[in-house]
């Protein structure tokens, strides 16, 4: 194998390992996301508002864009009947920020097995954003499903 094709194979192996690690975590998030979805179903939130958060997570390249969006929505909810109801938005923020720990674990393992200095510097942040997307994907899906079960929208 030439040096170039070895490098390419290594890059692919790294990407596969990363995708697998993210998929494993994602499956674990389904249960906790379902709990949040159930709590949010008790609020006045509509499908579009929850979908909006998911869409934002997929469109942005910043973790902070998702966190800021949610902070503003919780802050604006003066009547405490949407994101701020029963502290659900607050807890969700803490959960999403807490995914950084999982991102760190994944980044450490990937760096150990497939070190690539140029890509490594921003790896943890990028994995964190991927995990947030996975989490919100479960949340939005459960929310929409449960909302239809209880006859909303």
């Amino acid at each position: 194998m030439t040096q170039t094709s070895e490098g390419r194979a290594r890059k692919i192996a790294r990407r596969v390992a990363l995708e697998q690690a993210i998929a494993r975590r994602s499956d674990k998030y389904a249960y906790s996301a379902k709990d949040y979805a159930e709590k949010l179903t008790q609020t006045k939130l509509k499908n579009t508002q929850v979908r909006g958060l998911e869409t934002l997570a997929y469109a942005t390249d910043r973790v902070s864009a998702v966190i800021d969006w949610l902070k503003v929505r919780v802050g604006r909810d003066d009547k405490r009947n949407r994101w701020a109801q029963d502290g659900t938005g607050h807890d969700l923020l803490a959960t999403l920020e807490g995914l950084q720990r999982d991102a760190r674990d994944i980044a450490v393992a990937i760096r150990k097995d497939y070190s690539m200095p140029k890509e490594d510097s921003d790896l943890e942040r990028q994995v964190h954003l991927r995990l947030i997307r996975e989490y919100l994907k479960h949340l939005a899906a459960h929310f929409e499903y449960q909302k239809s079960e209880v006859g909303g929208e």
Binding site: D61, S64, A65, I67, K71, V72, V74, G75, D122, R125
Partner: protein
């Protein structure tokens, strides 16, 4: 470096910077939490966000902040004036971060002038920072808004 490669590299660097600066912005908002949302209103903060988004140059943002500071001084609200003074200082200092990011992004494409690139980047970092301050400020607002 080509225009596209430079733009993409810079975009990634700004995204990483933005995520890192969230903590500083939250600390800034927390430090002045007692002023929000009565003394420093959401309208003023959204005004700043709008100016930052639409400003062509960093000087336009400075002018807005100075105007807010002078208004507060004239009204005898020194705590509010101090808030805007500190905000101006913090935003001015972002120019050093912009310089560092520009250095990390590598050589500029020949079509871009270094001074205008630095100014644009400084304005971009300001937008990110102010957005974080606004989000954290409204999240922690101790008194519900009345509108």
């Amino acid at each position: 470096m080509s225009d596209l490669a430079y733009t993409l590299t810079l975009r990634r660097l700004v995204a990483a910077w933005s995520d890192q600066s969230r903590k500083d912005a939250a600390n800034f908002a927390n430090k002045h939490r007692d002023l929000l949302p009565r003394r420093i209103t959401s309208t003023q903060l959204y005004g700043l966000v709008n100016i930052v988004r639409n400003a062509q140059r960093f000087g336009d943002i400075q002018r807005f902040i100075r105007h807010q500071r002078e208004k507060a001084e004239r009204a005898g609200r020194q705590d509010v004036a101090d808030y805007w003074k500190e905000m101006e200082q913090v935003l001015n200092n972002l120019r050093n971060d912009a310089r560092e990011l520009q250095r990390q992004a590598g050589s500029l494409p020949p079509t871009i002038s270094p001074k205008s690139a630095l100014d644009t980047l400084h304005r971009q970092l300001t937008e990110e920072f102010v957005q974080h301050v606004l989000a954290h400020g409204s999240y922690w607002s101790p008194v519900p808004r009345t509108y």
